[in-house]
């Protein structure tokens, strides 16, 4: 499985750390809504199909990324930085493209 990091290009999954379900909404830090905290900490959508998830390129540029990945086929249909305002540079580092099949 290859994940295309917005900064580094297509890299092997072993360079990435899975941060889990990207659908979860963290309650405000001072929230006392126990149901909302329970949902955030323990409950998961766990779909069979497209799944919104967060990965970190921990063995590379260390960026956190949002990935849409099909849990039935492992096919990745979208990757973007967690913070959309931090747009990746359009220039890719030389020699990366095609370096890893």
């Amino acid at each position: 499985m290859l994940i295309t990091c917005p900064y580094c290009g297509a890299r092997d999954v072993s360079e990435f750390t899975y941060q889990g379900d990207g659908n979860r909404q963290r309650p405000a830090p001072n929230s006392q809504d126990l149901d909302a905290w329970n949902d955030y900490v323990y409950d998961r959508l766990n779909p069979a199909g497209d799944h919104n998830e967060i990965w970190q390129h921990s063995g590379g540029c260390r960026t956190h990324i949002r990935v849409v990945r099909n849990t039935l086929t492992h096919e990745i249909s979208a990757v973007q930085p967690v913070r959309p305002e931090t747009k990746p540079s359009p220039v890719k580092p030389a020699g990366r493209r095609g370096a890893r099949p």
Binding site: M1, V13, D35, D43, A48, E53, H74
Partner: protein
């Protein structure tokens, strides 16, 4: 009465093996049952067996999407153990061990349960201390456990590298002598035959496509073979829990489905007569009766329903194998495969009534469901028949997360990929 006695073998050999009675029938599903068990894996079949045997509930159907034994019951690495630290787990898995010890007799079907021991290796003094603590906890609760020295381990497993020259030298280990392996397909077949002979309908190639409801109450299922009504609907579908529960409108559970890979090598002469686990990673190995080495490792670590994994885990498992058994470097792999595990948020299972009226849920087995097969069915059958949990599964509730009564054996928190 043994169905497969020497006399029966001889008689059928002389008559061309035409008169064997099938181990289970292929019934058409009836319009209604007292209990429907969704999932014809080990847990679903043992649930049906104990419903009939212990509770006299025989108007039961087990609905299996594929063929019997096609899921995790035929994909696991067959280890059976009860070497847990926390009392709810220790009690439950030790009950399972006791059922295993009599299972072949109980089912009148040889499940080839082999108490060859499971040895957890420690690679640092701190890890050995931790194992001593777990061993003490086990012995305190009546479970067998022995702390072994390096000298004892190298006598026990001469093929393993226990020298000080390795990257992670062995410091000792925790052995559970009564643990071991069982023939996983035979467990499915034995429970299926036992349930079938007591009147349970095992319906293969019957996929549940939805739930019938009367208000909140579940009153049956729609399937690829028509509607089937039931007073009680039990869900025991392991890795498919998310998919099946979604059909009932429950789309959020403390479960993530992950893929776990397993591997088997070509046959060797006997080299390993116990189950060994590597303590500096996640690797376990045993030798099957056919002679193949069975390797297992960590889950791939991301949500997956694919029943196949990726190469980094293959590499990791082989690296850990080589760290322990450099002399086996030339042994070739025959096959690898993947199974979908229902990883819970604390690493412990869920066996409970609900979450909807008329429904019963059995899930959260992570990658340890096989050894639990007898006790899981035993407790789930009790929970279904009596509408309340058995004392052994009373702690395995669905709401324990919300209530803060987790059973977190490893102390990893709500990060399923680490359990």
């Amino acid at each position: 009465m043994a169905e497969y006695s020497a006399l029966a073998l001889l008689k059928n050999a002389l008559t061309g093996n035409k008169d064997w009675k099938p181990a289970w029938r292929k019934p058409e599903p009836k319009a209604a049952y007292d209990v429907i068990v969704i999932g014809g894996g080990g847990h679903g079949l043992s649930t049906a067996y104990y419903l009939a045997k212990e509770h006299g509930v025989t108007n039961v159907a087990v609905l299996e999407k594929g063929y019997l034994g096609s899921g995790n019951v035929g994909r696991n690495t067959t280890a059976v153990r009860s070497n847990y630290l926390l009392p709810p787990n220790t009690r439950f898995y030790e009950h399972s061990m006791k059922l295993w010890e009599n299972l072949s007799h109980d089912l009148n079907y040889n499940v080839m349960f082999s108490q060859r021991g499971v040895l957890n290796l420690a690679h640092s003094p701190a890890q050995l201390d931790d194992y001593a603590r777990r061993g003490n906890s086990m012995r305190h609760q009546g479970v067998d456990a022995e702390l072994l020295s390096v000298a004892e381990i190298s006598r026990l497993i001469p093929v393993m590298d226990t020298s000080k020259a390795t990257r992670f030298p062995v410091y000792g280990g925790l052995m559970q002598p009564r643990a071991g392996t069982a023939r996983h397909d035979a467990v499915a077949w034995g429970y299926a035959r036992g349930a079938d002979r007591r009147g349970v309908d095992i319906v293969e190639n019957c996929e549940v496509t939805g739930f019938l409801r009367d208000g909140d109450r579940i009153t049956g299922v729609t399937t690829s073979r028509g509607e089937i009504r039931a007073k009680k609907v039990a869900v025991a579908v392991a890795g498919s829990t998310g998919r099946v529960m979604q059909l009932a409108g429950i789309d959020r559970l403390p479960i993530e489905s992950h893929v776990l890979q397993a591997f088997v090598t070509e046959s060797l002469k006997p080299v390993l007569d116990t189950v060994v686990t590597f303590g500096m990673g996640h690797f376990y190995v045993s030798q099957s009766d056919k002679g193949g080495l069975v390797y297992g490792g960590d889950i791939d670590g991301y949500n997956s329903y694919a029943q196949r994994g990726n190469l980094p885990i293959v590499q990791e498992v082989m690296a850990e194998m080589l760290a322990l058994f450099p002399s086996l470097a030339g042994v070739r792999l025959l096959r690898s495969w993947g199974g979908v595990c229902d990883m819970s948020m604390d690493g412990s299972p869920i066996i409970t009534t609900g979450p909807l009226p008329g429904m019963y849920l059995n899930c959260g087995w992570c990658y340890g469901g096989f050894k639990a097969t007898p006790a899981s069915g035993f407790c789930f059958a009790h929970t279904i028949a009596r509408d309340e949990p058995h004392e052994l599964n009373a702690a395995f509730t669905l709401d324990r997360f919300h209530r803060g009564i987790l059973i977190d054996e490893k102390g990893q928190g709500a990060t399923p990929r680490l359990h």
